[in-house]
C-alpha cells in the first residue's frame, strides 16, 4: 500500500503539473480538493484519466470521483480494490 501511495503521489505531481512539489509535500491523509492540496474540478477529470490509464479503472461520471479523491490514501485503497492492470 505504501508503495502504491508513493507511486500515486508521483503520478499526481506529473499529470497535474505540480511543478516544484515532491511526494513528501503531499500528505496522503489530507483532502485533495478544497482545503489541503486545493485541487479543482479539472484536476478531478485529470485524476480520472490517470486511474484509467495506469490502473484500468473507468468511472462512468465525474461525480463518482468525489468519494474516491478524498485523499491520496482513500484513492490508493480504491485502486487496490478495483484495479484491472
Amino acid at each position: 500500500m505504501e508503495d502504491l501511495i508513493l507511486e500515486l503521489k508521483e503520478g499526481i505531481i506529473d499529470v497535474l503539473n505540480l511543478e516544484g512539489m515532491t511526494p513528501a509535500d503531499i500528505d496522503e491523509n489530507a483532502p485533495l480538493f478544497g482545503e489541503g492540496l486545493g485541487l479543482d474540478s479539472i484536476d478531478a477529470l485529470e485524476l480520472i484519466v490517470l486511474m484509467d490509464k495506469n490502473y484500468g479503472i473507468k468511472l462512468a461520471n465525474a461525480e463518482q470521483g468525489k468519494e474516491i479523491f478524498k485523499s491520496v490514501r482513500v484513492m490508493a485503497e480504491y485502486i487496490q480494490a478495483n484495479r484491472t492492470k
Binding site: 499529470v15 512539489m21 479539472i42 477529470l45 484519466v49 490509464k53 465525474a62
Partner: protein
Amino acid sequence: MGSIVVTGMGIISALGAGKESTLRMLMAGERAIAPIRHLQTRHKDLPVGEVPYSDEELRALIGFPDDRIITRTSLLGRVALREAIEDAHLTDTADGKRIAFISGNTVGGMEKSERYYHDFRTNEEHKEYIAMHDCGACTDLIAEEYAGKFSLITTISTACSSAANAIILGADLIRSGQVDMAVVGGTECLSAFHLNGFNTLMILDPQPCRPFDADRHGLNLGEGAAYLVIERAESACERNIKPLCVLSGYGNACDAYHQTATSPNGEGPFLAMRQALEQSGLQPSDIDYINAHGTGTGNNDECEGIAMMRIFGDTVPPVSSTKSYTGHTTSAAGGVESVISILALQHQFIPANIGFQNAIDKHNFRPVDHVLQPAGLQHVLTNSFGFGGNDSSCIFSIPENAAPVVPFPETSPCYIQSVAQISIQQPLCDDWFDMPVPHTQPYNESNDPDYKNHFPPMVARRLGKLLKRAIVTAKQALGETIPEAIITGTGLGCIENTEKFLVSMLENGEEYLQPTYFMQSTHNTISSQVALQLQCHGYNCTYSHRGTSFDSGLLDALTQIRHGRIRNALVGGQEEMTPAYFEMLGKIGYWRNGDISPDALRASDRQGSFSGSCSLNMLLTNQRDGNTLCAIHDMRMLYQPSDEEMRNILQEMLNRAGITLSDVDAVVMGISGDNDNDLVYKDFHQKFCPNIPIVWYKHLFGESFCASAFGLYAGAVCLHRGRIPNHLLYHPAPEIQNPHNILVFNHFKNKDQALTLLSK
C-alpha cells in the same frame, strides 16, 4: 437610422439541408440524434447530431468540383451560405453594396488534419490540407464562391458562441456605416478531436440529450452551418426585399469564472441577456419564447436557468433547447439557433425541448416539452454561450413589432495608450527600438521573462506558454486600467496544447486524453483567461482570420470606441509556433532555410520568411494623456479591393484626417523575405504611395498570423519617440526625424487587407 433586419437565411444541420427540411422536422418534434455514420472514431457508441450527408454527397449537393479539395466544415458552410445568399436575392439586387462575410468556427480543418496528420509529419501526401487547418482558411474557402460580392471577410472564434458573435459584429459594422450588409453565422463539422475533447470533460450523454431535465446527463455533439443576411431596413426597402424579421437587440458579456463551467448564478448569461434586452428597448415580459443555449450538461442548464430567473423572475417565458433536435453544433449553434428562432417567429410555433421529464430543483419553470402553436409570437431571445464564459444573446422580432435600434452616437477619437510585447526581442520593453536583437535561425522561441515572478505555481501549471505571455502583456499594457472590452486576434490559438491533444489522441487510439490540453485548444481561451485573471465581465471576443486576425480585433475595438459604446479596450495579437507545425508549414513553403539577415530578407529572392512567436497587448482609449503613444485616425479592412477602391479608401482616410499624401512620413509594411508576400507590398507601395519611405518590422519580430500587431506597434513607437531609426527603414537611409503621420498596410495572400492611419 432604422432597424437592422434579416433578409435571408440558410441552414444545414442534422435536421437536413435547408430551411424547409429544418422546419418540417422542428414542427414534427422529431429529433435527429442518432448513432455515428460518417465520422471516423472509435466512440461509435456516442449518439450525435450528424448532418445526413457524406462529404461526397455534400459536394454533389452544391456541385463542388471533383478535382479540388475542401474540408467538411467549409462544405457545410458553402451549403448554408448559398441558401442564405439566394434567399436574400444578394446576387441580383445588391450591386454596389458593401457586404461583409463574418463566419465563426473553432477547429477549422481539424477533421482532415486528424485524418492526415501522419502524412503531414512523414510524407508529401495530403499536404495541401495543412494550409486548410486554421479557422480563417475555412472561412476563405467558403467565401470564395461569392468572393466578388464581399468587401470584408473575417472569422470569429469564441467556441460555442462564435456564430452569435458574428451576428453582433455584423450588426455593429452596419450600424457604424462601415458596410451596408453582412452575411453572418458559423460552421463546424464533427471531428474526433472535438468528440474526444468533450468526452474528456465527461459531458457527453451516451443517450439522446435531455436539456433542462433533472436527470440530464450531458450533451450530444452536433454539426452544421447557418448564416443570416442582415442589413438596415432602408437597404432592404431599396432592394424591394421583405424582411424576415428584425434583429432588435444583442449582448456580449464574459462570465470570467472558469474555463469550461458557468458561474453558479449565471453572471455572464445574465449580463448578455440583460444587454440584449436593454438594447432592444423591450421589457422582459415582451419576450415570448427563449431558445436556450441548453446543452444538456448539469452545469450549463442549471446556471442558464438561474440567469433566466434573475431576468424574468417568476414568469420565465416558454423555453426550449433545440439542441435536443440537432445536438450541439458548437461554433454554428448561434447561427443554427437564430435560424430556428426566426422560423418560429415566421411560422408562429415553439419547438419542443425533447426528452424533458422533470424540472431542475432550483428552477421555477418547466421547458416546453412538446411543439406549441401559440398565437402572437413577437419577440424571441436566443442564447449562445461558449467555453471561457464567452456569452452572447440575440433578440429577433417580427418586422411589424420592431423597436428601433439605437443608432451609434457621434464618433470619439481613439488612441494607443500603451503596448506590451513578448517576442524574440527583449521582453516587456521597447529596447528593440534602439537595440534590436538580430536573428540567426528561421525558428525562434520567444524571449520570455521568468513567469515564476508572475504566477503562483497552482495557477501557472494550467497555463500554456501563450496564455502566460498573453496575461503578462495584458497586465503590463493595462497598468491600473480595468478594460471595458478584451479582444484577441490569434490565427492558431494555443497550438502547442492543441497539438499535444491531437498527437495523444492519434497515438493512444482516442484513449487517456487530458482535458487540460483540450480546454486550451479553443482560440478564445486566451481572451477568456485574461478576463478571468482580471475579473472583467465586459465585451470579450476572439478573431482567428489568418494574417488579419489582429486587424480584425482592432477593427472591432475601434468601431466600439469611436462610436462611444466603450471608453477603452485591450486588444491583443497572440501567436505561438511548435517545431512540428513549423516543419509542416515549411512543407508548403512558409519558411526559408538559412540566411535570415536583413540583407537576405531584402533580397526577397527565396520563398519563405522566418517564424516569430508573437504576443502583444495594447490598450486603446478615447482620451489622450502625456503617456499616449499616438492616435489611430482610421482603420479599414478590405477583401480583394480593386485598385480604384483602394485609392478611394486611402483618399477618404487622408481627407478625414485633413492631410494629403505628402504629409505621410512613412508606410509600415509586413515585408518578410517571402517573395509572393513582398511583391504585394511593393505593388501597393508603387501604386499608392511611391515616394513614401517604407518601414519594415518582420526582420525584428518574425512572421506569424498576428505579426501585423507589431507593425502597428512599431509605427506607434516611432510617432511617440519622434523618430524612425534607420534599422526600421527598408531602403537603407538616414533616420527620419519628427514623423507626424504613419500609414500601416497589411495583407494576407493578397486577399484580406488592412489599412490604418496613425498620427502623432
